[in-house]
Every structure is written in C-alpha cells, then in structure tokens.
C-alpha cells in the first residue's frame, strides 16, 4: 500500500499551499512514496530559458536536487522559497520519499486536473486559497474546480485565517 503511491501537492508557494504541503508530508506521505509538486505558471515567457520547449506537455519531472538549484529553476522561471524547500528536504530525508516537481504553463484549473491523469497521481492535496486577487470567502476557484473535476481523491487543506 505505501511505497508505490504518487502523491501530488498543488503549489503556487502561497501560504495556503505551503500549509497543504506541510499537511501532506506530516499526514499522508509514507516511506518510499513519490511526492510530486505540481506548479502551474500563467504564461510561457518567451525570453526565459526553456519554457517554450515544455509548453504543451509540462516540464519533465525535476528532481529535488535541481529544485534547490537556482540555476536550473531559472530555466523554468520558477523560484521555490526557502521554507518550502526545507519541508521538501525534510520529507525526502525522514521518509525516504522521492520528491520531484512538474511545472505546467496555462490555466491552473485544467493543468492540475491534467496532471492527475497524466503523471498519474494517486491523490492530490491542495490549499483552499492561493494567490488570486479575488479573495473568495472559503474556497478559491482553482481548488473548487479541482475537487469537482479531478479524477483522484482530492484533499483540501484550509489554512488558518489570519485576516480579521
């Protein structure tokens, strides 16, 4: 049961998605699992490195060592913050998890559901609100769409509301 699962965490590096990552590593990921960070960027920037190459299929699976390497990540136009990297390194060490990242370009809603089918993922964890400008009350549009349409079990992790 454990050890051959591909657990996805949708990350836009917002505080909510970090909470989702933290929950996943503490509660769901078991020894030997594959933890796949799914990040969706809005548009392909034609000036930045290799993004054009991976527009249709998404980036290849980027291993943890490269995620931490800013030179590699510059090619994709993505920067993982220190806190997230820390969580990923810890789970890789403590639970022998294989950590990779896949970056897509396009609409987050569609691309995350695509990721579930293509990678494929045995389950997906997502935060309830991201970086969107419209602060929906309880659930963002992306998490809402993914819960409805994703073909695997989807876990929505709410983060503590600090706003008054």
């Amino acid at each position: 049961m454990a050890g051959d699962r591909r657990i996805g965490v949708a990350m836009d590096f917002s505080p909510c998605s970090k909470a989702a990552l933290r929950w996943a590593t503490e509660n769901l990921v078991k020894d030997g699992d594959h933890l796949i960070i799914v990040n969706v960027q809005k548009e392909v920037s034609y000036e930045v490195g290799e993004t054009q190459l991976w527009e249709t299929t998404g980036s290849p699976l980027i291993p943890l060592s490269e995620i931490s390497d800013p030179n590699v990540m510059k090619k994709y136009g993505v920067k993982a913050d220190a806190e997230s990297l820390d969580i990923l390194n810890t789970v890789a060490r403590q639970k022998q998890a294989v950590v990779v990242m896949k970056i897509y370009w396009g609409d987050a809603r569609e691309k995350i559901c695509e990721a579930i089918d293509n990678i494929p993922l045995s389950s997906l964890i997502i935060g309830n609100r991201g970086l969107g400008k419209i602060k929906r009350v309880f659930m963002g549009s992306v998490s809402n769409f993914v819960v409805n349409n994703g073909s695997c079990p989807v876990t929505v992790v709410k983060s503590a509301e600090h706003e008054a």
Binding site: N27, S122, M139, N148, N149, P153, V154, T155, V156, K158
Partner: protein
C-alpha cells in the same frame, strides 16, 4: 507523524462512501489512530434512539457493537457488511480504534458540526451519496463539507481504480 489522530469518515452506506472508507484505511490511517465513522440519519426517522440523542448525536458506538444485529436496528441503520469488514480488518491489522457516531438532521451541517464536536483532525467523504439528484460530479453534501469544515477534507470519488 506519530501523533494519534482522529480521522472521520462520513458514511451513508452508498458505493462512494465505501470507496471513502477504503481510501482512508489504505492511505491515510496509521497505527494508533482512531477512525470515527459518522452517519447522519434524516431527521424524519422516528426511532426511540432519536428521541434520546436527537440533539447531540448518539454516543460513540464501538465497532463490535455495530456488528451485532440489534444495535443497528435500534438506531434504524442498515450497515453495509463490506464497510464493516473494512473497518474491522483495519482495527485488527493496524491497532486502530474504530467507533461510530450517528447524528440526526441535515448531513451538511451535522458533518461540519462533527468536526468540531469530535475534534477531528481530518475528514474523508465520498463524492456522491444516495441523494435523489444525481449531480454529475460532486454531491451537495461533499461540496458543502469541503467548503465549510474547519479541518482538511478529502473527497474520494466512487469506484476509482487505483492508479499505479
């Protein structure tokens, strides 16, 4: 990660709630956790137990008692033998405590209340239940619970074949 967690699973004995139980048992639950199977009866049911426990919900019923024939009849519940088997093997192989709690009323509200009452660390629900309106993707109860419950909620789609 080693702390004992209280995992709630919403059960209406439909096919997707069976899938929810299966997913929770195979993926989420670990040694020492407590599984609380939550069943919400319509408030139209007129059993003696309902008069007694209508407001707060039934006491926590241990798994062994649920398997006996009398108790379920007393509460007007018809437990699905497959679900009981899943819970039973979980309790034996993983040293997991399994209890059941029955509420009366609207499943949407009661499940969200249950998260607070029972201090659940997380909740697993199926995507569609026995409702008359067979919504295409996500039933009204699971949709409401994902949005409003205060703990992480996992929605398990029915009859999902595990992807490797």
């Amino acid at each position: 990660m080693g702390e004992k967690r209280r995992v709630g699973v919403a059960i209406d004995f439909s096919a997707t709630s069976r899938a929810a139980v299966r997913w929770a048992v195979e993926n989420l639950v670990e040694d020492g956790d407590t599984i609380i199977a939550i069943h919400v009866q319509s408030s139209k049911a007129e059993t003696a137990q309902k008069k007694l426990w209508g407001n707060t919900g039934s006491p926590l019923i241990p798994l062994e008692e649920l398997r006996e024939m009398n108790l379920p009849k007393l509460y007007g519940v018809n437990p699905d033998p497959e679900i009981l088997d899943l819970l039973d093997s979980a309790s034996r192989t993983m040293k997991v405590k399994v209890v059941c709690k029955i509420y009366w009323g609207d499943p949407r509200e009661k499940l969200c209340d249950a998260v607070e009452d029972l201090k659940l660390d997380c909740l697993v629900v199926g995507s569609r239940g026995l409702g008359v309106l067979k919504r295409l993707l996500l039933g009204s109860v699971s949709k409401y619970v994902v949005t409003n419950a205060t703990c992480p909620v996992t929605v398990v789609k029915g009859a999902a074949t595990p992807k490797t």
